[in-house]
Subunit: 219 residues, 2 copies
Amino acid sequence: MARTRAKDYDDKALSILHRSAELFAASGYVGTSMNTIADACGVSKALLYHYYPDKEAILFDILSSHLQELVAAVEQANAAPGEPVQRLRTIIGTLLELYRHADAEHQVQIASLKLLPKDKREPLLASERILVGIMSDALAAAVPAAKQKRVLKPLAMSVFGMLNWHYMWFREGGPMTRTDYADFVVRLVLAGADEAVAAVTRPRGKGKSASRSRQAELL
Amino acid sequence: MARTRAKDYDDKALSILHRSAELFAASGYVGTSMNTIADACGVSKALLYHYYPDKEAILFDILSSHLQELVAAVEQANAAPGEPVQRLRTIIGTLLELYRHADAEHQVQIASLKLLPKDKREPLLASERILVGIMSDALAAAVPAAKQKRVLKPLAMSVFGMLNWHYMWFREGGPMTRTDYADFVVRLVLAGADEAVAAVTRPRGKGKSASRSRQAELL
DNA sequence: CCTACCGATCGGTAGG
DNA sequence: CCTACCGATCGGTAGG
């Protein structure tokens, strides 16, 4: 009788992906050998090639599953009912929470997505664009001044900068929780965006924002 | 008589560094061979080893010269006279301006600094800590609420997040100049920081910041 | 005839 | 400053 697919096949495939992501994050994609991956996963190299046709497929699947998880969660957060500000907060909090157990995948995305050939890279960049699009829409809805085309992208990318850079310094058990930092970023953006947008859209010298702070005047 | 060092020796060494940085940024450190570097620089591989003892020395020198340039410029900006807010603006503007011609070096710093062995990595991390220290001091001076130990690091790292992420989206000739974006970031931080700091330091529910915005109330 | 898995080794290329 | 190579290790595949 033919052997059926092992019932832990998918579990094993996923655990290989995560372990590989950790190795890629530490030593780089090219700097991590298939032998190293096999050893770290406690399987033979031949078994590795049973799960994935080649090394490139491992990198692609790491990033594909990571980005699809982000897109699905952010789309759900975006579809939830509520005020625009609350939606923005949920989106940002969701991203930071997903990063909790995806630090390696996140670093691989930043350092190694570009190493894939164009046909494998393109669908991943499309997922990234979906995330940027949802964040931009949420910002435009929550921050009136952000609707201006000239500043929406810089504002959205500033938010992604803060979120995507957090792996460099954020440590679990520090003085701020992830939820704290999500609130921190949201409030920074909400309170600061009108001012920042006004600064780069009005003519030099005279401002017309009623809420400009004393410090902003000094610029 | 012994040959003297060629008068363009240092120029050539620097151009090799920059070309290597571009290759490392595109294909990764391990993914770029010494033969590729030699070909791209129009020199033999043997000449490459005349300038640098090994591949690791090229990576180290790329990052060392890049970070020393950043530290020197930021220290000078920090030492200039003027109001704290103006000093913060100068520091942020200086960093964005230096990144103009150091995109490759910047990407190599993010993706490949970690690949160096500890003894080579440590002095580079020390330079990074100097930059973070100056930025933190400038923020503490310009933003009263930022002085609280619990929030100074998150605020400083949020600023570095925005600045260090800009290579992912900022394009020369777009609607915003580098100076525009520097202003944008400074005003975002100045106007938003008091609010953001209050959010994560006060007890839950009730706030006491007089300047809380309508949007912030909704959180 | 299928999938699951092993020990051993392939042709090429890496840094030096 | 070059060509000619080295010891080792790479990603990937063979037979069973």
